[in-house]
Symmetry: C2
Subunit: 141 residues, 2 copies
């Protein structure tokens, strides 16, 4: 039995703070983005502009698919294209005042959600791992 | 308020059944595995042997990293190496008789878990998306 009220828990409490979030910039070449993703081990990371504002998300898949030419894999495309060319900007985000109730809905279809302040700056991310830990703590601790 | 008893819900009830699970074989060249991952859009899929037995998991990252040579990206490695060369076999799985209680613990650190029968054959996978949907249905429907 539990009376876990997700609408009373702010995402800010348990989000991964911006300083700990790996990210890339709009103008980075894809080769740099692939390096960041490979070194950090993440499949996708946020894309920010020079003011720290959220612009979208770029994934390893986006970059790998950009390498596929008509007949073969074309590595040169990694140097010719930038993050901005292949990222996705129509992704759901949560605001700094949202709660786990909103996060749960977004995380059903997305593995993480960027947390934005009123100036659209990314202040952190909320992940599936984090919300699953909250459920585990609620049910088993 | 909820009396959601995860230990009473079998993973088999909501798992993705084997026929719907994209997978690759031990002996496939990496180039085939990369194609499967790119076409299906998944970041990682199970690896089976010719008898449908679970052998491990292979991810896009494993393949991309295998392409990195000392100085540059070497596409030939995709043809020279097989799934078996780069997959991970020490991954946690759940058994066909396990419940959501066990699945929740595994899914905190892994985005999906293969469901195995007593012969080690993969009969399905249980994903974070599925368990999050169960929580949403419990709390909001
Ligand atoms: N270096 C590492 N160490 C330990 N475990 C690792 C790991 N990299 C990945 N994982 C595990 O794999 C899950 C999926 O990672 P993925 O990179 O696809 O998907 C990640 C990634 O796209 C993003 N993400 C997570 N942490 C991040 C960070 N610090 N910076 C940037 N993006 C992050 O959020 C998604 C969901 O993350 P979540 O933690 O729920 O789920 C993670 C985590 O359980
Ligand atoms: N084609 C698609 N259509 C709609 N949404 C998609 C999608 N591909 C990915 N997603 C979304 O992205 C999440 C992470 O996918 P990923 O491929 O990293 O990680 C996936 C993938 O590695 C594996 N997986 C899921 N379904 C699979 C299937 N039918 N066959 C093989 N592997 C599967 O389980 C992981 C977790 O899946 P989960 O559903 O929890 O979470 C998925 C899902 O919410």
């Amino acid at each position: 039995l539990t009376n876990f009220d997700l609408s009373s828990i702010p995402v800010k409490r348990d989000m991964i703070e911006a300083e700990k979030v790996a990210h890339v910039q709009l103008q980075n070449p894809l080769e740099h983005a692939l390096l960041v993703l490979t070194k950090t081990g993440y499949n996708a990371v946020p894309v920010l502009d020079l003011n720290g504002r959220f612009c979208g998300i770029i994934s390893k898949s986006d970059i790998v698919e950009a390498m596929f030419g008509i007949e073969q894999i074309e590595v040169d495309k990694l140097y010719e294209n930038t993050v901005e060319d292949v990222m996705h900007s129509d992704v759901p985000t949560v605001s700094e005042h949202d709660t786990l109730e909103k996060a749960l809905h977004v995380l059903i279809d997305h593995s993480f959600a960027c947390v934005l302040n009123q100036d659209d700056e990314m202040i952190g991310i909320y992940t599936r791992r984090e919300i699953l830990k909250q459920f585990r703590n609620e049910f088993y601790e």
